[in-house]
Structures are given as C-alpha cells and as structure tokens.
C-alpha cells in the first residue's frame, strides 16, 4: 500500500511539472487539437482607443526637424545622401511618406485597435487615416504591390498559462519606401519592421501601451533602428479625429 501511495504521489509531482508544457504544446497547435483563434487566446487585451503621449523626442515628432537632423538614426552613407536630397521648400508629391509602418507609431495621434475577425487585429490611426492589419494566420501574406503599411504577421507571446500576461509581436514587410523622420530621413522598400506591443497599468487607473519598434533596412541603415513609443488608453473615441496625411507639418 505504501508503495502504491508513493507511486501516486510521484505521479502528482510529475503532473505538476509537465502540465504547463503540455498546455503550451496544445496552445502551439499540437496535432491533438486545432489552434485556438488568436482572439480567443489573446493573453492581453489591446483593443480600444489609445492616444500618443509625446513625452519623448517632441521636437522630432510634433514639428518637422531641420534638414540634415538625423540625430540617433544610424544611416548608411547612401541613407545620408538620400536624406540630404530632401528639400523642405518643395511640394511633397507623396504626403503619406512619413506615415509608413516603420514610422507610423511615432506620429502624434490616436490609434484604434479592434478585432477585424478572429485572427486579424486591425489598427487604425486618425493621423494620416492609415489602417494596419495584423494577421495571425501562418499562411503566406497575399502577394501584391508594396503599401505604406505593408503586410504584417502577428503572434502572441504568452507569459504562461494563468499568468494573465503576455505581449504581441508583429513583423511587417512589403512596405513602400518612405520617411523614418519627417525631414526626409529614408527607409527603403527592403525594410522589415518588428514590433512588440506590451501593456501596463497607468497610475491614474487606465493603461499604457508600449510599442517597441525595430526597423531593419539593409539599404539605408547600418544597424537596427530601435525606438519605443507609448500611448495612454482612452475610455472612448470622442477625441478620434481622422485627418489625411500631410507633408506640411
């Protein structure tokens, strides 16, 4: 009897140890069960209205910096050459160049995040009226011409079952060439954007959204360009005010 109890006790300990791994394997889409829809398996809720809190790099984001101000951006010689061709007095034929995926989260404005369907998270911006679709499907992104917001694939990073914590990782490619900074600092169509979305409580009772953006561009950047932006959650869309892209900032 004692041996049986000992074996059962050992089973309990073993189960305690392996249960999380088993649960994770199921979450990753093991053969036994189809993967849960991204919406249903979301470890954090990113939906809602968020306003950019411009407490950093105000002079690069709220006004157009002077020509030649590339401070902090690790440009290649070719990137520098292209940035130097920017003419602040010339009319910009493509006003959305500063609103592409590599730079859009630095634009002062609001974002609205909703579930477009069970496996697509949509992020709209009021500044520039841009729409980004984060697809959780493992299928290849539909081919097509490059766009300002490119093609994005997404996945959750869960901190573990039952922790109520985690983050979103988004990888974006197939972007149209544009500006990392309004004063003509370029990114190319070869740029890849990797973003991490995290949330934290705000002391006043709301939430803070933190977006870490990593831009890799073999043409114009010597090394990854990494910035983190933050937003405060708003209770509703009463301050949502779509406006077109503008180069006259």
């Amino acid at each position: 009897m004692m041996r049986r109890k000992t074996r059962l006790a050992a089973c309990i300990v073993l189960a305690w140890c392996v249960a999380p791994a088993a649960a994770d394997a199921q979450g990753r889409g093991g053969a036994a069960a189809p993967p849960a829809a991204a919406k249903a398996s979301a470890p954090v809720d990113l939906t809602g209205y968020w306003v950019a809190f411009i407490s950093e790099e105000w002079r690069y984001r709220m006004v157009t910096p002077p020509k030649g101000d590339y401070r902090g951006i690790p440009l290649t010689p070719e990137g520098t050459r292209v940035a130097n061709t920017w003419d602040p007095a010339a009319a910009e034929p493509e006003p959305c160049k500063a609103y592409g995926a590599p730079a859009i989260m630095r634009i002062p404005g609001r974002v609205h995040i909703v579930w477009q369907d069970d496996n697509t998270l949509r992020l709209d911006t009021d500044a520039g009226t841009q729409t980004r679709a984060f697809r959780f499907s493992s299928a290849a992104a539909p081919a097509g011409p490059a766009t300002w917001q490119g093609s994005s694939t997404a996945r959750w990073e869960s901190a573990g079952r039952g922790t109520g914590a985690g983050s979103l990782t988004v990888v974006t490619t197939n972007v149209r060439a544009g500006y990392l900074r309004r004063n003509g600092v370029p990114y190319s169509e070869n740029a890849t954007v990797t973003e991490y979305f995290d949330v934290a409580p705000h002391p006043a009772g709301g939430q803070v959204l933190i977006v870490t953006t990593v831009v890799d561009d073999p043409r114009y950047l010597q090394r990854p360009y990494i910035v983190s932006s933050h937003f405060k959650k708003e209770g509703d869309g009463s301050k949502w005010e779509p406006s077109p892209c503008t180069a006259a900032w």
Binding site: R4, M62, Y70, S167, Y196, T212, W249
Partner: protein, 300 residues
Amino acid sequence: MGTEPVHGRLVVLLLFALLTASPAFAQIDLAGSWGATNNEDLAGDSVPVDYTGVPLNPEGRIRALSYNESQYSMIERQCQGLPTFYFVQGPFGIKIWSDTEPVKGTTIAYTVGAWENRAPFVIWMDGRPHPSKYAEHTRGGFTTGHWEGNTLVAYTTHMKAGFIRKVGPPISDETTMTTRFYRHGDVLTVLAIVEDPIYLAEPQIMTRSFQLQTADLSPVGPPCVSAYQGRMPGESVPHFIPEQNPFVDEMTTRYGVPRDAALGMPETLYPEYRKKMKPGAARPGVCTINCVAAPPPANR
C-alpha cells in the same frame, strides 16, 4: 478496501495538480550587458530651456526656469548625481545582474549597475518592506520588485529631490517611480512612470530600449571627485530670475518649437496641441548643431 478512499483522494489531488499547475519558472533572465542604441534622444539636455515632453505644473516650471547649469561648478554640487531613472534617459548602456540566496538559489535582488553620475539601482526581490517614511532618502532611493508574468516590475521610493531632466525641471523627494522591464529576445524595453505630487501635473512616462551585447559593461562608474571650478564653498548659488531666463526662446529660434511646448505645458504632450500651432510655422532651415549622433565611420 481500506485503501480505496486514500486512492480516491490522491486521484483528486492528481487532477487538481493537472488543472492548476503553473510554470515553475515564469521569469526570464534579465542579466547581462544591455547596450545603448541611442536611437532616441531621451536626455533632451542640449538646450538650457528644453522642457518639451515634461508635464510640469506651475511650481515645477518656475523652479526649472530658475535653474542655472553653472550650479555644477559648485564643489558641493558636483557629485550630487542624478536620480535613478536617469538610466532610462542617459546615453549609456546598463549592466544587470542578480544576487542569489546561496542555499535555495532564489533571487534576492537585481541590480542595474551604476554610472558615474547615477547610483546603482538595486531592486529587492525578497519581500522586504519599504522603509518608514521618516527614513533617509538617498540618490538611488529604495526599490522593491516582483514578477508579473515575464515582466519585472519595480517600485521606488525614498529618492532625494533632484531633476527629471538635467537642464532643470525638478522632482521633489516625494517622487515615486514604477519601472517595468520587458524583454523580447535581444531587445530590452524599460518603461518608467514617475509620479511627483509637487512638481508634475501628471505622471511622466518614459520608455527606452536597449540591445543585448557580448561586450561586458562596467557595473560601476568611476568615482566622482569634486574640484575647484571657479566657485568657493559658500558662494552664491548660480540661478536666474525665472521670468528673466535668457534661454527661454532658444528652442523656438533653433527648432521652431513653440514656447509653451519648450516650457513643458501639460497640454503640449497630446496630439491635439498641434491644432494650436500655425501650419508651417515651424518650417525648418538647415540643422547646424547636434544633428548627427550615429554617422557611419566612413563619413568621419
């Protein structure tokens, strides 16, 4: 027959274990040398009156405008150092390590190594309480931490009064800070939320990212040695009459930043403030100073 109830209880326990087990190690490893990318200018200290992005209240603004950087020539202030959260703003990388309890192997504390002008940031993980409100305040303050999923959350109290930006915006000794460390592979993003009921109109939010590097960073800064720099101990403290600060319009003339924004008016931290700005009023010329921080070596 007498073993069946015991057996049944154990099966129930087994099921309970399967249903409620959580990961044994939810935490991630933060230890290592995290290099500064400096892709963002978070210091904002290149112009004497650059309070952009700092939500100052009127008292904080007056204190800031009275500040004169020549105060650093005073022997008694040369080594006063900067608050803990300067590691989110300053230009250097950070080294993080953990101290473990020798028998159980549990983490007693994480430490973010010091710089020459910033004390070590020790995050106590062993459940000790914060000191009494009457306890001594130090430059580094007192910090406790815990894990929320994969995020290390730290809370700091007992800091000395100082600056939230090197050019003068103040913080009081009632300031507290909540810090969160998010690791995504080789990228570490730190969120710091600073609250000060005396000088800030609302909590200040700062985020900064670091990149893991193989080169070892120093865990300590060089010692600060004060020396005579033109002012003897006891001489007057360099300062400005707030409304006569000669640098109040430098951000406007150099970068086209409106004065309200340069002075840290809270409403200027929100996008709708752009509506109050005249379109094109800030149309730039050519950058002539502090333009390039990371040029390719071939250009030098």
